[in-house]
């Protein structure tokens, strides 16, 4: 439903987004990751038609956002960064205003407002001015505005920013649930969020896409993905290391902890040979040698490691 082709957005000489292409279909939740200033918000602003692109082609539901902005905008619900709202309006007034601009009148408007008020838990603050709201409520009010016309496409810039852990959980569930029927893009700094809600992740760094895949695919790119973590009691670390070094599928071992007779080790697979069998091999070896295994598990690799590995070195170089 969203198709971005070779998007470039420049502000003066500075390229905020540099040749970004991606698509989002119905039923997909796309997570946008990246350091601050990487171009996440700019990309979203172009998709929603707020910024015209410097070059590139963006279509939303088949409509070109430059040539045919109104039908494209009708399909989108947008939660901008920092969840802006008219300070002097009440929550109810603001939602009614948004509904009217979305072409909802009379009963349809009342129904729509009632629906999002319930969805975003705004009953208690309905007649409060927006500038008196706490950050969480302000955020939910703006989210309610984005959902008011039950859009096919949702674009959300840091939808959980400023929410407490319970609210974060609610919003993540909401995104996941809505993602079954809509096309959703959201940006975040929180990596668990991506794992919890996204079907696909794009990592942007300095205006370019540096990674694009499912959360699992990205996690597999971590250095310790597929490594085996083991804890053994009553044996010397040296003996274990020695034993493990005879395994053909193990590349090397790393000693994580050695105190009070408990040893923790991480065994890295030899990627050319292991093929996912390392955990089984280690387990068999331990059974053979009668090691007192207390714990044995395969490490999944962590998204934050991948994120750092991809985005950090260059950022440091740039400074």
């Amino acid at each position: 439903m969203i198709r971005v082709e070779n998007l470039v957005k420049a502000f003066g000489p500075k390229l905020a987004v540099n040749d970004v292409s991606f698509t989002v279909e119905r039923g997909e939740v796309l997570g946008f990751l990246g350091p601050n200033g990487a171009g996440k918000s700019t990309t979203m602003r172009v998709v929603t038609g707020f910024y015209p692109p410097t070059s590139g082609k963006i279509t939303v539901g088949g409509y070109d956002v430059l040539e045919n902005p109104l039908p494209a905008k009708r399909l989108i619900g947008y939660l901008p960064e920092n969840a802006p709202g008219y300070a002097d309006m009440t929550v109810a007034g603001f939602l009614n205003f948004a509904a009217e601009l979305r072409g909802l009148h009379g009963d349809a408007r009342k129904k729509a407002v009632g629906r999002v008020v319930e969805l975003c838990f705004l009953q208690n603050v309905l007649y409060q001015d927006i500038d008196t709201l706490s950050k969480g409520y302000k955020h939910r009010t703006c989210l309610a505005q984005a959902l008011i016309h039950d859009p096919d496409i949702l674009v959300m810039d840091e939808p959980t920013d400023g929410l407490d852990p319970n609210q974060k959980h609610e919003v993540r569930n909401l995104i996941k649930h809505m993602g079954e029927k809509k096309a959703i893009i959201f940006s975040t700094h929180i990596l668990e969020e991506v794992e919890a809600a996204c079907s696909r992740v794009i990592i942007i760094d300095r205006g370019r896409i540096v990674a694009n895949g499912t959360p699992d695919e990205l996690k597999a790119r971590a250095g310790n993905a597929g490594a085996v973590h083991m804890r053994v009691k009553g044996l010397a670390a040296a003996a274990l290391t020695e034993g493990l070094s005879r395994l053909a599928t193990a590349a090397r071992t790393e000693l994580l902890k050695d105190e009070g007779g408990t040893v923790e080790l991480r065994v890295y697979p030899d990627r050319s040979r292991a093929n996912g069998s390392l955990t089984r091999d280690v387990a068999e070896l331990a059974a053979q040698q009668k090691w007192g295994l207390e714990e044995l598990r395969t490490e999944e690799g962590r998204l934050d490691e991948v994120f750092r590995a991809i985005t950090l070195p260059d950022t440091v170089k740039a400074q």
Binding site: T54, L70, P71, K73, Y86, D88, F97, L101, G103, Q145
Partner: protein, 247 residues
């Protein structure tokens, strides 16, 4: 039809915004006090012994100089400061609809302020027998004058997210529009410039074009002048807003 609904929704919101905060009431009170002060004290309404509102309308270009930018300064700078401009312009609304609606709402508010001066008309009708056609023309001119000032304020408001800067720049531009045709200035200018130059400069002034209305003359050229000031300033506002987004 959509355009009409959009404009209506935005006008309603803007007007609501004025009246939910004390700004509107403070403005109306100050406007009426100053209008009264200029008319009766500075303009010596009673001492003139005429059944006309000359002393009322004469001061409007000066009165509006500070009051209209006070209304217009927040039009776009506030949207930019709050970030709501991003919401507004990603709604299925064109920039021009938003622009026209916000302008119309403020103009309606100024029209309301002007309408509240009707007691002056009643007073002058009570004491004498004025030409109400002239008074009507005066009101029409005053409304066009306010609209032109407002359009200029809308333009300066789009330039910055700081309302104070917006106010000052707006007052400066308006001051130029007044002084270009203000007699002491044109008198000074005519000492070292040819009459044609003086005339051309004065033609840019709101004073020159507002004068006719005060005398009860509704000249198409004057109406066109005010309409083009509004058209130009609003067009510039649109260009500035688009410029921010184009980067």
């Amino acid at each position: 039809m959509d355009a009409w609904y959009n404009i209506k929704a935005i006008v309603k919101r803007e007007l609501g915004g004025y009246f939910t905060s004390p700004i509107a009431y403070v403005f109306l009170v100050i406007f009426l006090l100053l209008a009264g002060f200029f008319t009766f004290t500075v303009g010596s309404f009673f001492e003139r012994g005429e059944a006309s509102l000359v002393s009322f309308f004469t001061w409007h270009p000066w009165l509006y100089l500070f009051l209209v930018p006070a209304v217009g300064m927040r039009l776009w700078s506030e949207e930019r400061r709050l970030g709501t401009i991003e919401l507004l312009l990603t709604m299925p609304v064109t920039t021009w609809q938003a622009l026209a609606a916000k302008f119309l709402a403020s103009w309606l508010f100024l029209a309301l302020a002007l309408a509240l001066t009707v007691p002056v008309v009643i007073t002058v009708n009570y004491f004498g027998d004025p030409d109400n056609g002239v008074i009507f023309a005066g009101y029409m001119g005053s409304l066009l004058l306010a609209g032109s000032y407002l359009a200029v304020s809308s333009m300066t408001s789009a330039m910055t997210r700081n309302q104070v800067i917006s106010f000052i720049v707006s007052v400066l531009i308006l001051l130029f529009l007044i002084l270009a045709g203000y007699e002491p200035v044109t008198g000074l200018l005519s000492r070292f410039a040819s009459p044609t130059v003086v005339e051309v400069v004065a033609a840019f002034s709101v004073m020159t074009h507002f004068e006719g209305f005060q005398r009860g003359v509704v000249d198409a050229r004057d109406v066109i002048f005010f309409a083009s000031v509004m058209g130009f300033a609003l067009f510039a506002t649109g260009v500035i807003i688009r410029g921010h987004r184009a980067g």
